[in-house]
Each structure stands twice: as C-alpha cells, then as structure tokens.
C-alpha cells in the first residue's frame, strides 16, 4: 500500500505537541493507508494534524473528508476489508451518528482504529469532556482504552494497530482522549523513529479474510436467528483472546521503545497498603495523583487505580489491586440514568468485578467533571473524607455523590 515519502521521523525526537497531534504523528509513523474525517470538536484537531502531515510529505494515505460521520466509519470499515490500515474518529454526538457503521465493524472483524475525542453528548452542545460517548461501544466488541497523557496517546495508538490487526484478534480499537485536557494541551512527547515503529508494527494482512479479486468472498450476507448466536460467540472468543495479545504486544513495546507501565491494563499509583483507593479513567489521573501524593505525605494511606483498558476489562488484575482496600471511591466522568445505584458506568462494572471477593471493600461512587468541569485536588480530598467516614461508621449514607454540582 502507501509508502513513506520523506520520513519526517527518521530519528527519534522530542516534540511539544497535543494529544491529538500525537495521534496524528502515530498515523504517519504507522503509515496508515486510509484515514476518514468529518469535523467535530475536539476530535477535529487530529484531522488538521493528519492533513498537515500528509501535505508536508511525512506519509502518504488516502485522506477522505466524508460528508458525515456515518460515511466516515463506513469507508474505513470497507477499506479495512480490502487490507488497508485505517484510522478514523469523532466526538460526542458525531460518534453516535456513526453508530450503525460502528456496530457492524466489530462483528465483521475489521481492525479499525478510532480516536474518540471525549465530549459531552448534546444538548446543550458543550465541548467539554464526558465519557458517555466512547462508553457506548462497550458492549459491541470494540477495544476501549482511556488515555491520560499525550505520550500515552501516541504510544497506545501504535499499540492499537498492533493489537487490533493481530490475526488472533481482528477487532476494532477505540482510543478515548479527554477533550481539551488531552486533545488541546501541548506537552513534551518522545516521538520514536520510523525504524523503531517498523520493528514493532508488522504490516496488516487479513489473509483468507481479505476482500480481493484473487480471493473471491462475500462479507456480511443476511442471516437470521439460526446463525446469530454463533457469530456473537466468535466475536466473544476474539475479545477473550485479545488480553494475551495485549500483554505480548506491550512487553515488546516496552522493549523497543523503552517506556511503559508494569501492566497494560491498569496503573496502580501508591495502591500498595492503601486503605482507600480512588479509581478513575483518563486525565482525572492528574488531580487525583496530586491529591494522593499530598495525602500520603500527611500519612494517609490512599492510592489511585487508573483503569486504562475498559474493554477488555482486566477483572483479575483489578480484583488484586483493590482486594486489600477498606474503601473504594470510584470517580465516574459519565453517568447512567436509572442504573442499579443511580451511578456511573465504571462504578457498576467495578462492583460487579469485586462481587466474587470474600471480603469486599465499601464502594462509593462520585460523579465528577461532567461536561468538562474541572476536577480539583480539593474535590478528591473530599471524596477520600467521605469514604473514610463510611469506613469509620461501617455505613454508607449515600452511595452516589455528585461532586461540585450547584444546588
């Protein structure tokens, strides 16, 4: 397919870039073949960077500005079927508009990689981050990963193609990047060299599944109830296989690029011996880690667990990280109306994951930062105080708390 023209990134170098720019550079480094775009904030920044990189000759690709998000995702799905490495993305209601195409992408086993620039769903058309948009693919067979830094955005984009395109997996990958804090803030990022990336990321080959005149096949014929459960079970099996592939790829990633956390699925921050563990995703990590550090300095045993992969959900690792805690405070930047505890999606998933434990910690849910409202260090302190109170009294007065909402 496409070939690298000039190689702006022959050498590894340090750049001052936003998370969106980092994902754009990852597209160039991965030599993506087909990229589709349709503007919506905050995702649109990535299309600006990709088109600039293409115009500057950093790489070659078919860059298609579609007439809607729906077409955007239809195009990459089809391109993926013929063996093209693909990238697309959207935000908020734009992502929802593409949902017909998004749902079939996983079932057809197309390893499309998409960036979701997290944005509150409309109305009222706010631009700020909320996780409900990306969360909507959690039941569809997509990988779903929450990024915390621009560096991680670049690194995990590379991981995304590697894992999604693995013949054992062939499932799409959604890279969730918090609107503004990631998509629009510039940080120092180590950009790897083209050679390093080449070593890590093999070409995408669909083998017998590739739609090609030399390989006459039909994809997605109409089927009814006598076929469907088997198809679902296949997708399920691929998702079950992906965890091992992720671990394998991440180990190799760390070896080639020389960075990475102990686990690809979660980040444990001062969790060892912690009595209270806060749990959250994405850039919530920044104020939370600062708060945890300060509380530790003051002698309080607190920790922070960042969930990186929401799908696949690393149940066992998460159980092990939380099993010793007396209280778990889950921060959700999303909400599920009418849910069992009138709480967030992450909270309910965690409650479910911890149910088999013999000694379960007390679990509280904090709804915070919806629509991009800043989560402050003081907010995190309050969450810990509330959780401590529940531990001391042995009683949860209120399971779900809305943080800094005006009454």
């Amino acid at each position: 397919m496409a070939t690298v023209q000039s190689g702006l990134y022959q050498e590894a170098k340090e750049e001052l870039i936003s998370g969106s720019e980092a994902v754009g550079i990852a597209c160039a480094l991965a030599d993506v073949d087909v990229i589709t775009a349709y503007p919506i904030r905050p995702y649109d920044t990535v299309m600006q960077y990709v088109s600039r990189l293409k115009a500057d000759g950093a790489f070659d690709c078919d860059f298609i500005v579609a007439e809607s998000e729906h077409s955007q995702f239809e195009i990459v799905k089809h391109a993926s079927a013929v063996g093209a490495r693909t990238f697309s993305g959207s935000s908020g209601v734009g992502w929802f508009y593409a949902f017909e195409a998004i749902t079939v992408t996983a079932g057809l086993r197309m390893p499309v990689v998409a960036m979701v620039g997290n944005r509150a769903l409309d109305d009222p058309g706010a631009f700020g981050v909320e996780h409900n948009d990306a969360m909507a693919v959690r039941d569809l067979g997509w990988h779903l990963y929450w990024v915390a830094t621009a560096q991680e955005a670049l690194d995990m984009a590379l991981m995304a193609w590697r894992v999604a395109e693995d013949p054992r997996v062939l499932l799409p990958f959604a890279l969730s990047c918090d609107g503004s804090f990631l998509t629009h803030s510039q940080a120092i990022v180590q950009v790897p060299s083209q050679d390093q990336v080449k070593k890590f990321l093999p070409p995408y080959t669909r083998g017998e599944l590739q739609l090609h005149p030399n390989n006459p096949i039909t994809i997605a014929p109409q089927v009814n109830e006598d076929w469907l459960m088997e198809i679902r079970r296949q997708t399920d099996e691929a998702m079950r296989r992906t965890s091992a592939v992720i671990i394998e790829a991440y180990d190799e990633f760390k070896e080639i690029f020389g960075r990475g956390d102990p686990s690809p699925f979660i980040e444990e921050y001062m969790c060892e011996d912690a009595e209270i563990i806060l749990v959250g995703m994405g850039t919530l990590a920044m104020p939370t880690r600062v708060a945890v550090r300060r509380m530790r300095e003051a002698g309080k045993k607190v920790g922070f667990l960042r969930i990186k992969f929401f799908r696949p959900f690393a149940t066992e690792e998460i159980q092990n990280a939380l099993r010793g805690a007396k209280g778990v405070a889950v921060i959700d930047r999303d909400y599920s109306y009418g849910s069992p505890q009138y709480g967030g999606v992450l909270f309910h998933e965690l409650r479910s994951a911890l149910y088999p434990l013999e000694e379960r910690p007390l679990m509280l849910n904090f709804i915070a930062g919806l629509g991009g409202r800043e989560v402050k260090v003081t907010d995190v302190n309050d969450m810990v105080d509330t959780t401590q109170k529940a531990i001391d009294t042995g009683k949860i007065e209120q399971t779900t708390t809305w943080v800094s909402v005006r009454e």
Partner: protein, 383 residues
C-alpha cells in the same frame, strides 16, 4: 522546587499565532534550562471568534511530578506574569463562552508582572486596569498592536519583544540565555535574536500599588443551580424594550445585563449627530442591536452593547458620520448623544480631533480581505 505560570491575553484569531509563538517558545526555552512545561489555550475560547478575548498559558515546573498539578485544567488559578498583547484589553475581558468581566490582572500573583504592548503610558493604562489589593509590576513594550488573520501572520517581532521582556521580569521562569538559544534554533534569524535581546535590555517595570487603578466593580453573573434552573433547557426571552431610557418616545431595546460583549471591541463608532440624515441603516444593520433611538430620532450607539464590528461605519451613507476610533482613546462607556446634547460645540471639537487622529492610526480590525496585509505593508513603507 517551583511551578511558574504565564498567561497571554489576546484577541481571538487576530493574535492567535502570536500567542502560540509566545507560549511555545517559553516551554522550549525552559526545557533548555532543564525544566519541563506545558502550553495550552483556554478551551472555552476555542473555536476562536474574531477579536473576542482569548487566553493561552505556558506552565513550567522543575519536575514532571510538580507539573502534574497544572495539567487537566482550563485556566491557571494564578500566574507569575500576565502578558497582554492588546492594550484595549486592559479594560477587562469577557469570553464568548463565559460570563462576567475578568480584570486583566485578575490572575496576576502578588508581586507578579503585567506586560502590555502599548503606545500609551503607564498612567493612562492604569486608569483602565482594575484595582487589586496586592501590588504588582507593570512593564510596557512600546508597540502598535499586532493584528493579523487566521491564515496569515504579521511577523513584526512582537513575539520576540514580549519574550525578551519576559526574561527580564521573570528570569526564574526562563533564562535569557536559554531563550536566545531557542529563538536562534527555532527561527535561524539573527534579527529576531537581536529584537529579543534589545527588548530584554530596554524593559523597565513600574510598581502598581494596591488600590491603584480603575475602581469599577466588574460585572458578574451568578450561575443557577440544578434546582433553580428551568427544566428542559428552556431560556425565557428577554423583554421587548420600550421608550428611550424608559421615556415615552424613542426606543431602547432590552439587553442582557450579564452578557455584554463590549470587551470584544478594540474600536468604537464615533457619531457625528450634526450630519446624521436619520436613514436608520446603522440601527437596522447593527448585529448587536446596540443603537438606541433617541427622542429626536437620532441613533446613539450604546457602548455597553457595542462589540466594535464596524458595520455601522460601512453602511452609513454620509461621509465621516460614523467613524471607528481606537478604543485606547476612551475611558468610559458613556453616551455620545448625552455629550452632544449637553455641549454641541464641545462635542464637535472632541469628535474632530478623534476622527483626524484616527486617519493617521494603524489600528485595524485585522484584514478584511485577501491581500490586506500586503496593502498595509505598502502603506507603511510609503509613509
């Protein structure tokens, strides 16, 4: 162990690239000093609108761990240096997405510095700047405002001069040596390096005492809570308006008391009431309904509502009846019609001076058309 922050306050679109150059070079230079930094724009200002006040930030820390507290925020809570690249913003700024007027020095820390590019002197600027109860320093870079468009950049070294001044007033943030090296590397231009060095050497500060400055209370807005807000995202219409200032004749529309937008203005219309033919065009075409109809059938531009777009000037069929004049000439939002009614001769003298002065001023609303920059350069060179 320290974290230091700088904000650049600028006019959306017209000065976007200028602000970006400033904050990015701060982070690059700090890197050379062995520090780590981040640069970001206030998200709610984006997508930027022409001329509407916007902010970008550079935050620098000794370690990545310290920097973390300044990540995942929209706006720093306090800054060591505020850089204002359009002196008309000294009157305060209202974002298009936020409510209330923010004084230019609101985030400036006690003992911090406010750097302004301006042709005005310190006393004249301080008259506009809201008082603070802590002392800070003011540094002026003598300069005409640097405006350009979204796709063009007026490379007039304003960024270099600002960075030079910054290294002088806050060497703890970034050293002059690191900045000189950065600019040499980034631009390869000896003249830019010279501009930087010269601005550094010439910059002097003037202390501003607590309580010195504009005593006006900036307008603000109390956000409703979920229990007090109307359900279903419903907003009630504002009332219809009525006679001029509540009287029987003329007309004053009802206006939003808490979203005024006048800080978008870098120029304002000055009306010659003597030559007005009452054709109604300014009143009809104004996109902000800023004209009040006076009892004598004239049109008085309300300066609490005018955002300075200049449509009235361009639609007015009478030569020099409406003239856009640079905002630094004004210290209040008072009615021109009141001034004219009180003293017609005095008003005429005041107006004539302003209009004549405007003809020799270079402040513009940016570039109205392709090629505007080239035209401006040619005019400057001829002059």
């Amino acid at each position: 162990m320290a974290t230091r922050a700088v904000e650049v306050v600028y006019r959306g679109i017209f000065q976007r690239t200028l602000a970006r150059n400033i904050v990015r070079n701060i982070v690059f230079a700090a890197r050379k000093d062995g520090k780590i930094g981040t640069a970001f724009g206030r998200y709610s200002d984006s997508p930027e609108r022409n001329g509407i006040p916007a902010k970008q930030f550079a935050i620098v820390a000794d370690t990545a761990l310290e920097l973390e507290e300044s990540l995942a925020v929209y706006e720093a809570t306090a800054v060591d240096v505020t850089i204002n690249v359009d002196d008309t913003l000294c009157k305060g700024l209202e974002s298009w997405a936020w409510y209330g007027l923010q004084p230019i020095n609101e985030l400036t820390k006690p003992g911090g510095t406010l750097i302004v590019t301006s042709r005005q002197d310190a006393d004249s600027l301080i008259e506009d700047i809201h008082q603070k109860d802590t002392a800070y320093d003011l540094a002026i870079i003598p300069s005409t405002v640097s405006f350009s468009g979204l796709w063009v950049y007026k490379d007039d070294h304003t960024d270099m001069r600002v960075l030079g001044a910054l290294c002088k007033v806050c060497p703890e943030l970034v050293s002059l040596e690191a900045m000189l090296e950065t600019i040499q590397e980034q631009t390869g231009s000896d003249t830019k390096v010279a501009s930087l060095q010269r601005a550094h050497d010439r910059t002097a500060t003037r202390p501003v005492e607590p309580g010195e400055g504009n005593s006006e209370t900036p307008f603000s807005f109390d956000m409703p809570g979920w229990k007090t807000m109307e359900e279903g995202l419903v907003i009630r219409a504002i009332g219809e308006g009525g006679g001029f200032r509540g009287g029987e004749t003329g007309y004053t529309p009802t206006r939003n008391e808490t979203f005024k937008k006048w800080s978008t203005r870098s120029m304002r219309p000055v009306i010659n009431f003597d030559t007005c033919i009452k054709c109604t065009l300014c009143w009809l075409q104004c996109p902000d309904t800023c004209f009040d109809v006076t009892p004598d059938g004239l049109y008085d531009a309300n300066m609490e509502a005018c955002c300075g777009c200049g449509v009235c000037e361009s639609v007015c069929p009478v030569p020099d009846c409406v003239t856009m004049v640079g905002e630094p000439e004004f210290n209040d939002n008072n009615s021109q019609w009141d001034a004219w009614t009180a003293d017609k001769d005095g008003y005429k003298k005041w107006m004539t001076v302003l209009v004549e002065k405007q003809k020799s001023e270079t402040r513009t609303h940016g570039f109205h058309h392709v090629g505007g920059y080239a035209e401006e350069i040619n005019t400057t060179e001829e002059a």
